[in-house]
């Protein structure tokens, strides 16, 4: 059963007086447990596609079915719930809260959970052990290296046990050795059964995925 079904997704932005069509009918099927890389040059529409897959934005037309639910016409609040339950984000710039500790950063998505009886604190500790930061739970992000910060972000993406890890250039800010470690960590998560959708323009990063699709001019080629 596929986790993501995108059918003829179109997205038009209004720039002043003219409409710019950024996505021109994207069709994509992502299976549960897949590790897929979406490649493309800047301007190809891949960021817009990520925003739609991540439920940060809605398509102008087309259907998007995420975990058996049509999500392309949901309200802002409903999309928030979907993101919270189904998607873990890992961004290029880590986006950790500077004033919160490592542990508090990992717990962030759990604050917005609707209904759960999980012991998130225990889970956060387990995840930090998996990403190799067991000893750093009380550190502030500024006390960590870039690679360590991205590990915190990965632990944060996993705290609500989402179906998908959606990651946009996760190694963009890192040197190649650290980049390799982060990619190995993502592979490890994939081995544990997570679906991973990776967006990158870097073929060296894309090669970690099982399947690569390429975008060009708003469509998948």
């Amino acid at each position: 059963m596929p986790i993501c079904i995108l059918e003829d997704i179109k997205k038009t932005y209004r720039m002043g007086d003219i409409d710019v069509m950024v996505l021109r009918g994207v069709n994509l099927l992502v299976e549960r447990g897949e590790f897929i890389a979406i490649m493309g040059a800047s301007g190809s529409g891949k960021t817009t596609l990520v925003n739609i897959i991540g439920c940060l934005d809605v398509p102008t037309s087309g259907r998007y079915i995420l975990a058996d639910r049509e999500v392309s016409r949901l309200s802002d609040d409903e999309l928030s719930v979907i993101r919270n339950e189904h998607i873990g984000f890992v961004f290029q710039n880590f986006y950790l809260l500077p004033y919160a500790t490592v542990l508090e950063n990992v717990l962030l998505p759990s604050l917005y959970v609707e209904k759960s009886k999980d012991d998130f604190v225990k889970r956060a500790h387990d995840l930090l052990a998996i990403v190799g930061l067991r000893e750093r739970t009380k550190f502030k992000p500024s006390q960590l290296s870039g690679g360590e910060q991205q590990r915190v972000a990965i632990a944060r993406a996993l705290i609500n046990d989402p179906d998908i890890i959606l990651t946009d250039e996760p190694t963009g800010q890192l040197d190649s050795k650290t980049a390799g470690e982060i990619m190995d960590l993502l592979v490890q998560m994939h081995d544990r059964g997570k679906t991973i959708i990776l967006i990158t323009h870097d073929p060296n990063v894309a090669k970690y995925a099982n399947r690569i699709v390429t975008m060009k001019d708003g469509v998948i080629v």
Binding site: N51, G54, L56, D57, D76, D77, S80, V81, R83, N84, E85, F89, F91, N93, Y95, L96, L97, P98, Y99, A100, E104, L108, P109, L111, Y112, V113, E114, K115, S116, R156, N160
Partner: protein, 407 residues
């Protein structure tokens, strides 16, 4: 996890931000504190004035009236006309059946009073044996003078505690004879201690002698007295009696309709009014500063929070991506501003309390802190926090996730 749980989790995020963005917190907190301090002080001062007024009214009798000779105008210009006669007093006693005490009084200020070689200028009041009862002012040593003393124009008197200690020091005044001008007066009793009026007049600096004695022997007067004091059994009708008394006295004094009253009635209402007016100047000054300070504080908050929202766009973005709804973001930022103004309100209350100690030490000013002053302070703090935090919080909540993520 319930909605309340979610709300508390978000509030704890607000608390973390309040702790972390120290500079913003300090600026907002201090500006709120000043506003709240002056407003709390106003409430406390107003309450103090009323409380003091009620205290005085209760002490001097909430069922009583004081009628002075001379109209409002004459009194205001410092002239004391004598328009009330002993016959007026007898007539009032006969006409008002519920007036259980009607007592005449005549006062002389700055009268030389001496005991052996000690001299003092004091207030001498002539009245009847009902003086201590009509003012609820008990005789604590010796005894009151009697009706016979009044009828017999006897040279006897009661003395206030301040004057007693000035003239007698540690000696017991009872039974001793003092000179009022050149007239020897035997002290028969000492009045209890009364302290000072809110305007600083010493109440215990006085001698009370029979009204007949003062009129004949010190004033050479047969008809007029300074004032009368009346106590009514039916205190609920007190203000009706004020009007009846006015009509009654105007008729007795044969005043034509266009003529103003030639007497002034002081009721508990006037005492309260006077005391509250005394506090009024401070209230006006602090009121204006307080309101200005609060509005300034509000704008400081609004501006610093707008800056903060801009600076923390990415935080808002990641929170939205992680599943925060618009209202979660809204609550978080409103929580931050309300937490800060709450702390500011508490600091302001402490500041007001400290400065009231200062105020009461330099001038005897009635200030009374109650839960009311506290509640007013807190409610205003919250109003400022919500009122001026709303717009920044709204802006934060309405950031689109994709825009916020971009930073």
């Amino acid at each position: 996890m319930s909605d309340a749980g979610r709300f508390l989790r978000i509030l704890s995020q607000s608390a973390k931000a309040v702790r972390s963005y120290t500079l913003r917190t300090v600026f907002c907190l201090v500006s709120v504190a000043f506003g709240i301090a002056s407003i709390t002080l106003i409430v406390a001062a107003t309450e103090g004035a009323y409380q003091k007024a009620f205290e005085i009214v209760a002490r001097f009798g909430p069922d009583s009236l004081l009628v002075f000779g001379g109209g409002e105008e004459a009194r205001a210009t410092g002239r004391r006309q004598k328009t009330i006669t002993l016959d007026d007093i007898d007539a009032v006693r006969d006409a008002f059946s519920t007036a259980y005490l009607v007592v005449p009084m005549t006062a002389m200020r700055d009268v030389p009073v001496s005991y052996r070689n000690r001299k003092y200028q004091s207030l001498v009041i002539g009245s009847t044996s009902d003086y201590s009862r009509v003012w609820t002012w008990p005789v604590v040593q010796g005894s009151d003078f009697t009706d016979d003393d009044v009828r017999g124009l006897r040279n006897v008197g009661l003395i206030g505690q301040f004057l007693a200690s000035e003239l007698f020091g540690d000696e017991d005044p009872v039974g001793k004879t003092i000179l009022i001008k050149r007239i020897p007066v035997k002290i028969v009793g000492v009045l209890s201690e009364r302290g000072t009026t809110p305007t600083g007049e010493r109440l215990d600096d006085r001698v009370i002698i029979p009204i007949s004695t003062i009129m004949r022997k010190l004033q050479n007067e047969t008809t007029y007295v300074s004032a009368m004091r009346i106590r009514f059994l039916d205190r609920e009708n007190l203000y009706a009696h004020v009007e009846e008394l006015r009509t009654f006295l105007r008729a007795r004094h044969k005043l034509p309709t266009e003529e103003p009253d030639d007497f002034t009635t002081v009721s508990p209402r006037e005492i309260t009014k006077f005391l509250v007016a005394l506090t009024g100047s401070l209230v006006a000054f602090l009121g204006i500063t307080g309101v200005i300070a609060l509005v300034v504080a509000g704008f400081v908050i609004a501006n610093l929070f707008l800056l903060s929202v801009r600076e923390r766009t990415q935080e808002i973005g990641i929170r939205r991506a992680a599943g925060a709804k618009r209202r979660d973001i809204m609550f978080q930022f409103l929580g931050e501003s309300v937490l800060i103004t709450t702390l500011g309100g508490l600091a302001g209350f402490a500041l007001a309390f400290a400065s009231s100690k200062l105020l009461t030490s330099v001038a005897e000013f009635p200030i009374h802190f109650s839960s009311k002053a506290f509640v007013v302070g807190m409610v205003l703090s919250w109003a400022v926090g919500i009122g001026f935090g709303l717009q920044p919080a709204n802006r934060a909540a309405n950031l689109k996730p994709i825009e916020a993520i971009k930073g």
